[in-house]
Amino acid sequence: MRGIDVPAVGVSIVGPTGSFPKDDELLIRVDTGYDGFFLISEDLYKKLRFRLSEMPRELWAAGKTVTGELFVLRRASLILRVPKAKLSLEGFGETFKGNEDDLLGLKFLEALTITLDGPKRMTRLL
């Protein structure tokens, strides 16, 4: 993965309204500080209509920041495709009020072998 300065993986998001992006991939930052599968910005959660694939409230989680703030995380079922690795992963996306970040977390990384090449600024899928 070249062209951006952070570890990132190209994915396509499959939700209740189809795939996004349609014929391309979206570069999402990888963050090992985030425990979950896919943290979605509120805007993207709305745009991809994840209210049509939400999990029951009793399956939602509480998210805790490093400063101790607690957020209720809305959770929805989704599929992440990793075209370059020819992978399709069933998982969940979550968001909270005011979230502007899209992040791939530890749960997502469980399915992949990747290496980070700092000097070359590359994330390699193996």
Binding site: Y34, F50, L52, E54, R57, T65, E69, G98, G105
Partner: protein, 133 residues
């Protein structure tokens, strides 16, 4: 600051008090801080719940045992308060809902998901207002 009065069970009160003190210290004000946080989180949970969402969650609660018995390991979709699809993969239940639907529950039956997650250093709250609808 105002005083909020109400009654809760002794068991709940005891565990609340214990947790509040663990988190905020054994000093004056720890119960108030914990109570304020609890009310904030509850309001956040309730504030942007639509009628359709409430109906689906109530249906899930009512059907939970039956769903666990009959659909273990499968994906299930609930819309307008009833089960509308099931299948072995998410793709099978992502079919377009019939009619006008603004909320649907889709989940894998019996899947155990973490209830608490670390969000890391990057994440903070930027704005306010209702979550996407």
């Amino acid at each position: 600051m105002v005083v909020v009065k109400g009654s809760v069970s002794e068991v709940l009160e005891e565990s609340f008090r214990r947790k509040a003190m663990e988190k905020y210290g054994y000093s004056k004000g720890s119960i108030s801080k914990a109570l304020e946080k609890a009310i904030e989180l509850w309001l956040e949970m309730e504030a942007d719940e639509t009628a359709e969402e409430r109906a689906n969650n109530e249906a899930y609660a009512k059907l939970r045992e039956e769903i666990l018995r009959s659909y273990a390991g499968k994906y299930v979709a609930i819309a307008k308060g009833k089960i509308v699809a099931s299948g072995d993969s998410l793709n099978e239940v992502f079919v377009a809902p019939e009619g006008k639907v603004s909320h649907r529950l889709v989940f894998k039956v019996g899947e155990r998901l973490p209830r608490r997650e670390r969000l890391g250093w990057r994440v903070s709250r930027e704005g306010t207002g209702p979550t996407s609808k």
